[in-house]
């Protein structure tokens, strides 16, 4: 609540009951919908003791899934940063035919169900797909392998960086960059010394959101990965697999790992959000 809306000491007393009831309901609702199920994951994961939990985490397949998920995130997030930043810069600084269209296309993955992305890639790169025969002849494996997983993850995470950086770039305009230009800075110096510092928190925030999405993506990846145990199973897919195997402790252990990653991302995001707010 903003200070301005808090009544002063001399304001007439009003009944606050309704206010407290609503606040209480909000907390209760959030607890049942979000907090309790999440806490339950950890409780179930640890229900057979810490030893069983640890054993399940270091089970080779689960460990491999954690590793694969990390690799996918480590590839997709930097690519996203480069592409997202370039697109935002292009859209914010230049006017050209198709500018609006470009923005719309970048934002498309927000509104499309991830499973559609998966199916699209399947149709494009599959054996009977558009590029399938060519790729097959060249002996390049896209589907049911790391490249396919990376590609669909890129698809679903494409909008995040641009979405965060673009409004800031548009609001700041290009005068600082022009000033740097007249002061003799080269293009790279302008980017490094003027453009980047101005958008760094928004950029990082976009990258964090993209990371969270890349790590947690299930739908699109499940279509193209083929779910080969110990080979193409990412952490979310591994959880489903363990669950279907009725390995409840294993599933919850893997889920708790993913949740932990998500919580860390959430904390980082909250810290950055404060910074972004202050700079704007």
């Amino acid at each position: 609540m903003r200070a301005a809306s808090t009544p002063g000491a001399l304001a007439p007393r009003e009944d606050r009951t309704a206010q407290y009831v609503l606040i209480g309901l909000a907390f209760l609702g959030t607890a049942f919908i979000v907090a309790v199920p999440l806490a339950y994951i950890f409780w179930r994961a640890l229900s057979d003791g810490v030893a069983a939990f640890a054993a399940n985490i270091i089970a080779p397949d689960t460990l491999h899934a954690i590793w694969l998920t990390s690799v996918v995130a480590l590839i997709t997030v930097p690519v996203n940063i480069v592409i997202g930043l370039s697109a935002a810069w292009l859209i914010a600084r230049f006017t050209f035919p198709g500018r609006k269209l470009l923005l719309t296309i970048i934002e498309l993955p927000f509104s499309i169900s991830p499973i559609i992305a998966g199916v699209c890639y399947l149709l494009l790169y599959g054996r009977q797909g558009l590029l399938g025969p060519t790729l097959g002849a060249a002996d390049i494996q896209i589907l049911f392998a790391l490249p396919g997983i990376v590609l669909v993850t890129l698809f679903v995470t494409a909008p995040f960086v641009t979405r965060e950086v673009l409004p800031l770039m548009q609001a700041q305009g290009s005068e600082q960059e022009q000033a740097a230009l007249t002061l003799g800075a080269t293009g790279f110096q302008i980017f490094r010394l003027v453009t980047l510092p101005n958008i760094r928190w928004a950029l990082l925030y976009g990258a964090v959101l993209a990371t969270a999405r890349a790590v947690g993506e299930f739908g699109a990846v499940s279509v193209v990965s083929g779910s080969i145990r110990g080979q193409t199973n990412t952490l979310p897919l591994q959880i489903e697999l363990l669950f279907n195997d009725l390995n409840i402790v294993g599933a919850f252990a893997a889920a708790s790992t993913l949740t932990l990653i998500a919580l860390i991302v959430l904390i980082v995001k909250t810290v950055i959000e404060g910074r972004v707010g202050r700079e704007e």
């Binding site: 022009q178 000033a179 007249t182 002061l183 003799g184 003027v194 101005n198």
Partner: protein
């Protein structure tokens, strides 16, 4: 000669922003580009700065072609209207920016940069602000930092876009005097853009009045103030009383007006338009005069009066309040013009009967005293 512009034209789509600008600027001059918004003055400044290029024309500095050079190669100092300081750098680093981005071979050492910055900080009278961030400064202080940043690279020409536009009145006046002082002691050729005539006249050695992409008049402030060259300049400089008059052998004549104080003009006989400042019209009580005072309002220092002649001619004038104590509404007055400018042709919508035009030289010869 330092900066030489000729036939500069610039089009944005179908809009002609600059329609042939010719201008010579001498070394060390302080020039004001004065004009209403949309007159092309900022577009011209951006072309000189190297942030935009004309569609035709030439721009040369000391004989070197500048259109083939980038902004950085021209070494100009540009101060933006909203300063465009780098918010994540301290004042000190903002000022040092132009030195720190130089190629390694040309870049002065850390100590030399710090020395330059310290010298500029005290020269611009902001020595205590070096370690602050731009967000912690007032508008006037930011303006000084922006100027310091531009001056650090020892620019050949200093360009300022509406330098006082975003400041309040008192700070504007102080900064104006300060900038004049900075210019006089640094001696850098300076061009600034403004829409405020008072600012242009107080500060500049020479004022360039622009309108719709053209230069209407160039000259010293007093010269322009006393002799506006075109009806546009006259209106822009506050000569907003427009009266239909007749030129007769170089004399300006109009019914009910005493125009004897105005010098004779070397212009053909016929209808003309007289432009007057409200403050240059003196009402003299005269029961036989056609004008009657219909309104008198005080603004404190001035009386704003309205005089009408009953035929639809309405004149507004300003009189110092203490000089106008005898004036009352309803009184008949003779209006005496102390100064004014006349242009051939009739005032808009108020055509007078055309008189036979005669040769200027003939008219002058006839009436030489």
């Amino acid at each position: 000669m330092t900066l030489s512009l000729s036939h500069i034209t610039r089009r944005f789509g179908k809009t002609e922003v600059l329609r042939g600008i010719d201008l010579e600027i001498d070394k060390g001059e302080l020039i004001a580009l004065l004009g209403p918004s949309g007159s092309g003055k900022t577009s011209l400044l951006r072309i000189i700065a190297g942030l935009d290029w004309p569609d035709a024309g030439t721009l040369a500095f000391d004989g070197q072609d500048w259109l083939s050079r980038s902004a950085a190669e021209r070494k100009i100092g540009l101060v933006f209207q909203h300063y465009a300081l780098f918010p994540h750098m301290k004042v000190r680093d903002n000022i040092a920016f132009g030195l720190n981005v130089l190629p390694r071979a040309e870049r002065p050492g850390k100590g030399a940069v710090a020395e330059t910055v310290d010298r500029l900080l005290s020269f611009l009278q902001i020595a205590p602000l070096g370690d602050r961030y731009p967000a912690e400064l007032s508008g006037g202080q930011r303006q000084r930092v922006a100027l310091g940043r531009a001056m650090a690279i020892q620019p050949r020409v200093l360009l300022l876009d509406e330098p006082f536009g975003a400041l309040d009145a008192q700070v504007r006046r102080d900064l104006r005097r300060w900038l004049r002082g900075v210019h006089d002691s640094a001696g850098i050729t300076t061009i600034f853009v403004t829409h405020d005539q008072e600012e242009a006249f107080e500060l500049a050695d020479r004022v360039v009045v622009m309108n719709e992409g053209r230069i209407e008049q160039t000259g010293r402030p007093d010269q322009i103030y006393d002799h506006p060259a075109t009806p546009f300049v006259a209106r822009f400089l506050g000569l907003n009383v427009e009266l239909p008059v007749t030129l007769n052998a170089g004399r300006i004549e109009a019914h009910g007006l005493d125009l004897s104080a105005l010098p004779r003009r070397a212009m053909p006989d016929g209808p003309a338009t007289l432009f007057l400042r409200p403050a240059d019209i003196l009402p003299l009580p005269d029961p036989n005069a056609p004008f009657r005072l219909t309104e008198i309002a005080s603004t404190g220092a001035l009386l704003r009066i309205v005089a009408e002649d009953g035929t639809g001619c309405r004149i507004e004038a300003e009189v110092p309040r203490r000089a106008g104590t005898r004036l009352e509404t309803g009184m008949n007055v003779l209006l005496r013009a102390e100064a004014g400018q006349v242009f051939p042709g009739s005032a808009q919508g108020r055509a007078t009967a055309p008189a036979a035009a005669s040769d200027i030289t003939h008219a002058l010869k006839e009436n030489r005293p």
